[in-house]
């Protein structure tokens, strides 16, 4: 806020009226006294080195070629203007926005400068200067609009008082006419919430909370019906006229929006074919013999005129040469000269221009952020009835399934007393990580998308969101596993002792949580949840087979697999469960009276014999096993955090 006041005072010293498009500004008649910021882009070029062929075609895969995505783009825009970037898909619109926002992946291939008020920005300043609304909005679907905005405000401006944040949120909602739906739930693809247009406005509002002076929006109208799309653009133009610079890319805008834009850029094959006001545009194209027919949209007409048709070679050459002609005509035109002059002027008069307008950002400490994220995630889940029911009852449902088959354990060796117990322990060890995996796969990807986007805006880091998620699901895991354990332990008739029940529960809680954590770790580095599900399910089976020692006793395994089994949590969990159940247990042997010393078909009758045969030394390792089992908790949390740190890099490279 202080910066704003300084900006205002400096502004008086340098009132700079835009020259080339004074007419369009005059029409709207909304020259309010505001600090006059400007954004200039000078000679921006960007190339990507790409491999020629797919990976299996080795000779062509090893060859690389340079693809020019942006080529020598320059423009200049000032406060109070709305600029639309047009072009067919693949013409470099979004890359241009990325370039302005400093979000390009390979900085080395980037040439040219971006100036704000005549100053070049440092790498870390980009994020604080521009706010960027992405094409696909990612919002938590069970929050109301007001909650959603309040949490974002808390994350961005925590240092301010509660009333300030409340006022700010109310003001922003009023500005985007969201007040009447403030308490509606946002909704998702599966259940209905607010309309698409309102959702788009919420994601714009989230950016406005930080009072950005430069806003970039990627395709804000895509996927909306025409009415709503028009309303969004009108609203953006209002935002611009309140002293902001607004730049949007837009695909197939409607003809009646033609006059709403203060500047229109047309991109084709990475080149800026034209950039100027709407009336300049018609004059320019008519001047070069391309008059827009009466009943057709100038947007469509000029975009088609400047796009390259790749259907056949001749057509491609023909259209490409037309594009070249038009773009060179533009480079020689008066409009382009004034642009260059304006940029030069801004560079020369740096001292007279206001400082770089940063967004308000007083982000709280890491701990505070974690608390806010935790509250937000919990609130989001608390409205998700299906999510909660799934988390709590899934394990019990599985328990019912097992109980249906087993009914009740017996102590007769000949009637499968040992076999059934092993089967039950096997099911417990295999199924609880499995349900954890399912939970993570169903609920986390949505949050991950939100974290990806908000971490780009600099609200928090991805791993902070991950930690908040982990903390928020722990109570649910405890309740879910507790219900399962109570049900299974007492209906099946496991060793009837309360302390043993406690150990049973503790030994099952771990695997359930670890299954979820493991999945989270994979979700960090692999985007596609289906692939993650395949990997984690196979890992789960492999862990049970190799680690548990229930299917194959540890002693008989080949050494490499034995070594591997030390890294599976299933090993410790099943050892605990077996020792917990079998020690002190005595079996009967059908009608044979064993004490009489008759040779019976039963190999052993004391549970401890079973432990000594299959898990030698198990009882003495009971505590160690518990320690080792729960050592997986910090280890997996660290692993997941690292994987999300890697994700930062991976996302950046995409």
């Amino acid at each position: 806020r202080d910066r704003e006041i300084i900006g205002k005072s400096i502004y008086i010293a340098c009132i700079k009226l835009p020259k080339n498009n004074s007419s369009s500004l005059g029409e709207h008649g909304q020259m309010v006294v505001i600090p006059n910021n400007c954004l200039s882009v000078l000679n921006v070029s960007y190339t990507v080195r790409e491999r020629v062929g797919p990976w299996w075609n080795i000779p062509s895969y090893n060859k690389k070629w340079n693809r020019q995505i942006l080529q020598d783009v320059s423009f200049h825009i000032e406060s109070g203007q709305l600029m639309g970037i047009l072009g067919n898909s693949g013409s470099g619109k979004t890359t241009l926005l990325d370039a302005i926002a400093g979000r390009l992946n390979h900085k080395t291939n980037f040439l040219g400068q971006v100036y704000v008020n005549g100053r070049e920005l440092r790498q870390e300043q980009f994020r604080n200067c521009f706010s960027y609304v992405l094409q696909n909005e990612t919002l938590l679907s069970y929050l109301t609009i007001e909650e959603c905005l309040t949490y974002t405000a808390l994350l961005a401006l925590q240092k301010h008082s509660r009333e300030f944040i409340k006022k700010k949120v109310d003001a922003v909602m009023a500005e985007l006419s969201l007040s009447h739906v403030a308490n509606s739930v946002i909704g998702s693809r599966i259940f209905r919430g607010i309309s698409d247009g309102e959702r788009r406005r919420v994601s714009i509002a989230a950016q406005l909370l930080q009072d950005p002076k430069v806003m970039l929006l990627d395709e804000p109208t895509t996927g909306l019906d025409c009415m709503t799309a028009n309303q969004i653009v009108w609203m953006l133009s209002e935002l611009a006229h309140k002293g902001r610079i607004v730049i949007i890319t837009i695909h197939q805008p409607r003809s009646e929006l033609f006059q709403v834009f203060d500047k229109i850029c047309i991109m084709s094959f990475g080149e800026l074919v034209f950039c100027g006001g709407p009336s300049d545009m018609i004059r320019f194209f008519s001047g070069h013999g391309y008059t827009c027919p009466e009943h057709s949209s100038p947007f469509d007409f000029y975009v088609d005129l400047t796009s390259v048709d790749t259907q056949s070679k001749e057509r491609e050459l023909e259209t490409y040469s037309r594009v070249r002609t038009i773009s060179s005509a533009y480079k020689n035109s008066e409009i382009f000269c004034t642009t260059l002059e304006a940029i030069e002027e801004a560079k020369c008069n740096v001292k007279e221009l206001p400082p770089v307008p940063f967004k308000c950002e007083d982000s709280p400490s890491v701990l505070c952020k974690l608390c806010i994220l935790l509250r937000r995630t919990t609130k989001n889940l608390s409205r998700d009835k299906i999510g909660i029911i799934m988390r709590i009852s899934q394990n019990v449902l599985f328990g019912l399934f097992v109980a249906f088959f087993l009914l009740r354990l017996n102590n007769d060796f000949l009637k499968g007393g040992v076999q059934d117990r092993i089967g039950l322990i096997y099911q417990c060890v295999a199924a609880l990580p499995f349900t954890g995996i399912l939970n993570a796969l169903a609920l986390f990807p949505a949050l991950r998308a939100v974290a990806d986007q908000e971490s780009k805006d600099g609200l928090y880091q991805k791993w902070q969101m991950l930690l908040a998620y982990i903390v928020h699901f722990l109570p649910f895991s405890i309740i879910g596993v507790a219900l399962y354990s109570v049900f299974i332990y007492w209906t099946m008739g496991l060793y009837p002792e309360v302390s043993r029940f406690g150990y049973f529960f503790a030994a099952l809680l771990g695997p359930h949580i670890f299954g979820e954590l493991l999945t989270l770790a994979f979700l960090g580095i692999i985007q596609n949840p289906n692939v993650v599900s395949g990997i984690t399910l196979l890992l789960n089976i492999a862990g049970v087979l190799a680690g548990s020692g229930l299917i194959r006793s540890m002693e008989d395994m080949p050494t490499p697999i034995k070594m591997m089994s030390y890294f599976t949590f299933q090993k410790y969990a099943s050892e605990i469960l077996v020792v917990n159940e079998f020690s002190g247990l005595t079996f009967t042997c059908g009608h044979f009276n064993v004490s009489a010393g008759v040779v019976s078909p039963c190999t052993f009758l004391q549970g401890i014999q079973f432990i000594e045969k299959n898990f030698p030394g198990g009882p003495s390792r009971f505590t160690t096993d518990f320690l080792l089992l729960y050592a997986f908790l910090p280890a997996l949390i660290i692993l997941a955090t690292i994987s999300f740190k890697i994700r930062d890099k991976v996302i950046l490279r995409q």
């Binding site: 067919n88 027919p293 009466e294 088609d304 299906i386 017996n410 076999q419 196979l538």
Partner: protein
């Protein structure tokens, strides 16, 4: 609006449009050769919609699983009035062969319902008045099948076939009577007509597999329907998702199809101005009410006469859609726009009363034949005259079967990477179990270990197969159900082709899985035992696969089929006789264990390994030989002889097959589900 119009007047002075603009616009879009390669030569058709009103019940269209997701009981029916929506109100028009009618509406409801009605595919609506006539006869399914083709808005094609192969397979299925060379000729003609020559030998592809471009794929979908040369073509949103050039060229293609003496009906959503100019007849409707229908070029004139001129530099389609759409943002605006719409509709009704075909023409051309009337297409150069009229004679069962089989095999084997991934996954599983029970060491496996190993061998492979098979069936589903709807082949021939077509992949998977385990675990080296083992695995996977197919044919979405498939598998796994002893099962699960393929495979595998072998048994520190048969008897695995187990598995496979067939035959799944 007035403000905008005023401003545009100002602009007009600056811009001064010339007559040359039209030719300029033509030059922007490539004008390909305009010749017709493939025309319709049946008798010309007339489609008439007379005073049609149609009401849909929105609530009844929500499927049960979505209701469940909202925590509602699937049998609750919303009976409130809001769920009844009027989709079409008093619609009338009459189009003939050679004309192209474009329906423009901002919402989707009316257009889809109209097309569903015309093609006699009724999804829970009610015709309250009026009728639809084709050549003067009310529509019936048979009549529609004979002369109309419906091209859906999404492309449903097998991704790994080339364009030419796709069309050739469909031609074989559809046109049984004509000779091979004629059929090839027809495919060539269709490819030429749709300008697909440059990509005829490229893979079709989909969103994951690289293939032809989006516009080309759309044209392949059109080609599939065009092959049998129907007189009436219906397109739902053909231009959606295409970029401007492709959309423009596609509409040119469609209007060329109309010139080839076909009746073309299409719906569009937000047509661009250049596309609008290509239209011949348009019907502008808003929430089911017709506001204008008639020649496209007269639309501006009509509305100007009604007092709503279209401003310069704006797209008439957009402008009039906006003018007539109902703005639901505030109540008063909604009232106002509703009033305007009803006024316009009434005016239009008044204006077209004296036109027989309910299509408005400007007065200058009154009485004259409409521009769109075809000038006998057969006089055009390069016209191909088709002597054989396509008839609805489908090939016999055996022929269908062989065509489908070769199509499926060529589609599956192109997708080598998917096959390799599956093979690799299976190999990993096999190696893991094999090494776990590595049997080449000092001593052989003990009885417990052997039985655990054999149980795991039989229990894991179905798991992998079921998961993968359900996904695959669901990805093939759109093509399948569309072709069923079109009546291309019967469920019998599909089922037989499908199960035979899976055989090569099946063999591959079983070999990759079975051999490493067998060798690593050092199981009985007798070749007879080895082959019996492989054969049993083969039967087992087949059974699991067909169960998975049944699940995916019976249940509506991928998630639900995957869930129930998994649950069924777990049931079989638990009642498999290893984890829980069979005697301990109470009555219901013991019935279940009778149909558990896991149990039978376990029993079979054990018998193969143990029968007739003596096994060293250690008890305490005494080792004594014990016969395998005795072991089997104590474990309760000797209830049936080995051959009976094979027969049981075959019987179960047949049982699942019957269920699969019945589900395919009688349960109509919607083909476009991505819930």
């Amino acid at each position: 609006w007035r403000e905008k119009v005023g401003y545009n007047r100002k602009l007009r002075k600056i811009a001064n449009p010339t007559n040359a603009t039209r030719s300029l616009q033509d030059s922007i879009f490539c004008s390909e050769d305009n010749s017709l390669y493939f025309t319709y030569n049946g008798k010309s058709n007339v489609l008439e919609v007379r005073d049609l009103s149609y009401q849909v019940n929105v609530a009844s269209q929500i499927p049960w699983y979505e209701k469940l997701a909202h925590l509602e009981m699937p049998w609750t029916r919303a009976t409130d009035k809001e769920s009844h929506m009027v989709a079409i109100r008093n619609m009338s028009f009459k189009v003939k062969s050679g004309q192209m009618l474009a329906l423009i509406e901002s919402s989707v409801c009316g257009k889809t319902s109209l097309f569903d009605l015309i093609t006699c595919r009724d999804y829970g609506g009610k015709i309250t008045s009026g009728e639809i006539l084709i050549n003067g006869k009310p529509t019936t399914r048979q009549l529609v099948k004979k002369c109309t083709a419906h091209v859906r808005e999404d492309d449903r094609l097998l991704p790994n076939l080339t364009v030419k192969e796709t069309l050739l397979f469909i031609a074989k299925l559809r046109l049984a009577k004509i000779s091979d060379s004629e059929r090839k000729k027809r495919v060539e003609d269709v490819i030429a007509e749709l300008r697909l020559r440059q990509c005829a030998n490229t893979r079709v592809g989909n969103e994951y597999i690289r293939g032809v471009s989006g516009g080309e794929r759309r044209r392949v979908s059109i080609g599939v329907q065009l092959l049998w040369n129907p007189g009436i073509l219906i397109f739902s949103d053909p231009t959606s998702g295409l970029d401007s050039f492709t959309a423009h060229n596609l509409v040119i293609t469609l209007s060329r199809l109309a010139r080839g003496n076909r009746l073309v009906l299409m719906s569009v959503h937000q047509p661009r101005s250049d596309i609008f100019q290509l239209f011949d007849l348009v019907l502008l409707m808003t929430s089911g009410i017709t506001v204008y229908s008639g020649a496209a070029q007269d639309m501006v004139q009509y509305f100007t006469r009604m007092g709503y001129p279209c401003p310069t530099y704006s797209n008439p389609a957009d402008f009039y859609v906006d003018l007539t759409s109902i703005d639901r943002h505030t109540e008063e605006r909604e009232m106002e726009s509703k009033r305007r719409v009803s006024m316009l509709a009434a005016m239009f009704h008044e204006n077209i009363r004296h036109f027989g075909d309910h299509l408005w023409r400007s007065s200058q051309r009154d009485g004259m034949t409409p521009v769109s009337e075809p000038s006998s297409p057969l006089t055009l150069e390069e016209t191909v005259i088709m002597n054989t009229h396509s008839d609805d004679h489908l090939p016999g069962w055996l022929q269908q079967f062989t065509i489908l089989l070769s199509r499926q095999i060529s589609n599956d084997f192109r997708d080598l990477s998917a096959l390799l991934i599956r093979g690799f996954e299976t190999l990993l599983m096999s190696l893991l179990i094999g090494f776990l029970y590595y049997g080449h060491g000092k001593s052989n496996l003990s009885i417990q270990d052997l039985s655990a190993l054999l149980f795991m061998i039989g229990a894991l492979i179905p798991y992998i197969v079921i998961l993968e098979s359900i996904t695959k069936c669901h990805s093939e589903r759109p093509v399948l159900y569309q072709e069923f709807e079109d009546g291309l082949y019967s469920a019998t021939s599909y089922v037989s082709a499908k199960i035979l077509g899976e055989l090569p992949e099946q063999c591959f998977i079983v070999i990759v899985y079975g051999i490493p385990i067998y060798w690593l675990a050092n199981l009985s080296p007798d070749p007879e035992h080895f082959f019996l083992n492989l054969l049993l695995l083969m039967l087992l996977t087949y059974c699991a696969r067909i169960m998975a197919m049944w699940m995916s044919a019976m249940l509506p979405t991928l998630q639900i089929s995957a869930f129930f498939g998994n649950a069924l598998y777990t049931t079989f796994f638990l009642s498999g006789g290893f984890l829980i002893s069979l005697e301990n099962l109470w009555i219901v699960p013991s019935w279940l264990s009778k149909v558990s393929f896991v149990r039978w495979s376990f029993e079979g595998l054990m018998q193969i390994q143990l029968k007739g072998v003596t096994y060293p048994m250690t008890s305490g520190n005494v080792t004594y030989p014990i016969s395998g048969t005795l072991v089997l008897q104590t474990m309760g695995l000797h209830s049936y002889p080995l051959y009976a187990i094979y027969l049981i598995l075959v019987g179960m496979t047949t049982g699942f097959l019957v269920l699969y067939y019945l589900s395919l035959r009688f349960i109509k799944q919607k083909s476009n589900q991505d819930w």
